[in-house]
Symmetry: D2
Subunit: 164 residues, 4 copies
Amino acid sequence: MTAQEGSGRESKNLPARELDPAVERLVRESFDKQGLMRLLGAAIAEVRSGEVSIRMPFKPELSQQHGFFHAGGTSSIADTAGGYAGLTVFPRGSAVLTVEFKINLIAPAKGEALLAVGRVLKSGRTLTVCQLEVFAEQAGKRVPVAVGQQTLMCLNEPGTRISA
Amino acid sequence: MTAQEGSGRESKNLPARELDPAVERLVRESFDKQGLMRLLGAAIAEVRSGEVSIRMPFKPELSQQHGFFHAGGTSSIADTAGGYAGLTVFPRGSAVLTVEFKINLIAPAKGEALLAVGRVLKSGRTLTVCQLEVFAEQAGKRVPVAVGQQTLMCLNEPGTRISA
Amino acid sequence: MTAQEGSGRESKNLPARELDPAVERLVRESFDKQGLMRLLGAAIAEVRSGEVSIRMPFKPELSQQHGFFHAGGTSSIADTAGGYAGLTVFPRGSAVLTVEFKINLIAPAKGEALLAVGRVLKSGRTLTVCQLEVFAEQAGKRVPVAVGQQTLMCLNEPGTRISA
Amino acid sequence: MTAQEGSGRESKNLPARELDPAVERLVRESFDKQGLMRLLGAAIAEVRSGEVSIRMPFKPELSQQHGFFHAGGTSSIADTAGGYAGLTVFPRGSAVLTVEFKINLIAPAKGEALLAVGRVLKSGRTLTVCQLEVFAEQAGKRVPVAVGQQTLMCLNEPGTRISA
């Protein structure tokens, strides 16, 4: 099976577009509604067109059994960064939904904070694919701790708008 | 590229083994050290040989922007259930590490609670593959909301023991 | 991010439906147009509602460097089995497209033949998720050699019909 | 679950190393033993330290039902490119094994040829993670058609050597 023409997955030439301040506001307002991000202590670090970064400082409540960041927290901010990266390139009034993601944990997630970066690789009418990267901040250095790939869906239907 | 003989991924005939109570204790003690599980309000529901279930009741702090369970929470308990399912079939003194996982979110994660089930599909000397399923409890019914697949690594090296 | 209501991913109660002979014909005609399946020597073993099996006998042209089945062949028939499993539950006139798949190679793929089974786990208006399994036939036994998970897209647009 | 220290996944500072001609020869000799690559008409385009490219010209035998490249062929060369990229950074005498891979098909795979590029993102003692990209050559342009992520295993055991 392979993608066909007319499938609505044509690229929209997304790079290098200036980010509309209204889009950044939309992303930040939506993020603020996510109870989980607040519980984890995560915050948006940067919003650009097709790229969103989320930072999560360490606290013991985020640990796994050995005291490092739990992969669940790592995955949570990676998924969220990718989702909002997608939202920045969607048409106004759209909502974003994670179809699936895959993540490799490539190094111990330890340090003062984690920084997740989601970046749109390809955006189509219905589906968008993002690259996910998570770095640990260790004494001023950024060490890659996870890499992933994510598929998002753009919803344009009435009743699925992110903001009222 | 394909798996070769002598690769240490031979199956260990895992099913139908009785679970040693010491293994269940090991799993529960390790789980209790995970700050993130406590933060999310997740608890072990069941430990069997090669299968672990984790339950997480809904609270607003677990939500995404529309009020449902955030996929990050869903993924966190799925990853943890798979990891401990693997640990139940590892040799004593081993530690478990998630190499990677992939998850599809197949329905809105809403309901009174989520139940994640991790199940060992194949266990080898070094690597173990688990199936992940997450169900939402909705008015007494269990609705599948996510399915995934996970690769674990078994660590036998000194200094990586899960419990002292 | 998590699936929302109204997203068009509602299940269609797919199991236990009788397979319309016209659907089986559609699947077989489409399969016969795949040059790659002929090149690999693969054939449809069975078509059921929501489940398709494809069998590929061993020949040296399918090998990797150690003489076993190459993971590329394993993946090719797994992807195709899942794609057609999806097609059996799509509305008439639809075409199927693989969005993505993930596959774990869990044992050496050696034997007289490989059998790939694709099975629909969840089908929605736009997206369908399949489970993929590949078995090696070794002296009368079926040994699991790969497991995977696949996301399909259903295309209903004019001009994307599978058969004329 | 999260990676721990002492897990054998420490990076080996792989970039910018000159490629030993003996390693390139090893890769090419191993590739030539793959029946499937010959059947598909694929050839190694380039071997660098931590990066291998494979090119596959179009022929009707590689098609899916709509006449484009079948995703199985796309995946086959992507997996192989990643596997040999890994092998270039492994210790001498090692063999490579694909643990798992995930691939998103982001555009119709049509054109004169496909070019798959596998690139090592992180290499450890046991496991290595690669990025996979596939481009279609269309009238002199390179169009991305697939992106993926792959986990490899390095085998050092006697009897698993790639070359005699």
